[in-house]
Symmetry: C2
Subunit: 204 residues, 2 copies
DNA sequence: GTCTATATGGCGATAGAC
DNA sequence: GTCTATCGCCATATAGAC
């Protein structure tokens, strides 16, 4: 019943809440389920986080910050553009392999409360403009085909994220619902997406 | 109070349910809201569809069948492959422009009940194998770059669907939350996706 | 077939003992 | 700080009149 114990409990709650929320979403999650997962009582959840809404917001912020892998060093490195893009795609797919519920969770909740979403993004200090600028510079240098850099960025995100978000559907339609085969497919995509993108934009 | 009226009411319920379910999902939807949208009483919903679950399943099947545009004629036409793919992308994005809630809805619910999903897919008589075979044949003919045809198919779906599913997020991050600008962007994508894909796979 | 009224259960939240 | 017990609400579902 001391502070150490407090910290421990709070952490257990956060972990449990992330597990349940990311898999079932805000609406689908029961406070009881989080309590069970954390091995504590339901009332404690409210003791630490007043309401379900508050707890959810804590988790959403936490999870959201994870979907932006450390790319700052990548942007400002001196690597050639094709290598930068390749590493980005690899890192991103690796991240999703480790957190398979992340894409569905974000996409599900992204529509719930646009204002909250905007505030979370702002808090993250994310600056997509930097990336767009980088891409534009490469286009001017003639390294890659001229196009709207937002298209290129969204294309890369689409190709990386969608196969995870649509996993159950794609797995049934194209892999006879073979889970292992689909997982292997996702691993391979680190390479196939890379070459698909580079084949499209590199000027040789 | 006759059969004509019955049909009319059932139809009104189905339309209302589609409107609400596709925007709020199974968990987020209240039966009262569907009743209001249909301009009838809550009890009538149960009279026609016994339970929320049953009503939801009816809507899911209905909506799911809409996400497969009429592509059979396209597959078996004599057009060259680049034109086939181009028309497919155009038609698909057009479909999503007319039904903007469709991607989010499907992705949200696709994880709920895999067995139900499988049964719905089976009922649709969808045969992805035909498309994959078509693509493989073109690769053998040397029209397009050799790759796993499932990758190509999933790439096209990713590029078409993801920008709709992730709309609120992308709009904030890359378009200063300018709704009109993002809509225009989506319209343009009929062309940009087409050239992105064809640039990547066409052997010149 | 359609309505009003009500039953039933579940969930978020709180009170209060320890 | 943690628990048990319980409140109060809201949503699904049903009963029953018309």
């Amino acid at each position: 019943m001391n502070e150490a114990k407090k910290d421990n409990t709070e952490e257990k709650i956060l972990n449990a809440a992330q597990t349940v929320f990311t898999q079932k979403g805000m609406d689908g999650t029961r406070m009881q389920e989080i309590a069970d997962e954390a091995g504590i009582n339901k009332a404690l959840l409210h003791y630490y986080f007043r309401s379900k809404q508050k707890l959810f917001e804590a988790i959403f912020s936490k999870v959201f910050s994870q979907i932006f892998p450390d790319i700052k060093s990548l942007i400002y490195s001196e690597k050639p553009i094709d290598e930068k893009l390749g590493v980005f795609i690899e890192k991103y797919i690796d991240l999703l392999m480790r957190n398979p519920f992340l894409p569905t969770f974000i996409l599900k909740e992204v529509n719930r409360d646009p204002e909250f979403l905007a505030s979370v993004i702002k808090k993250q200090g994310i600056n997509p403009a930097d990336i767009l600028q980088l891409l534009e510079k490469e286009m001017e240098k003639g390294q890659i085909r001229k196009m709207d850099p937002r298209d290129l960025m969204i294309n890369i995100l689409s190709l990386s994220i969608f196969p995870f978000a649509s996993r159950p559907l794609m797995q049934i339609m194209f892999f006879s619902n073979d889970k292992k085969a689909y997982k292997e497919f996702l691993v391979q995509r680190k390479e196939t997406v890379k070459s698909f993108v580079l084949n499209s934009i590199l000027l040789k």
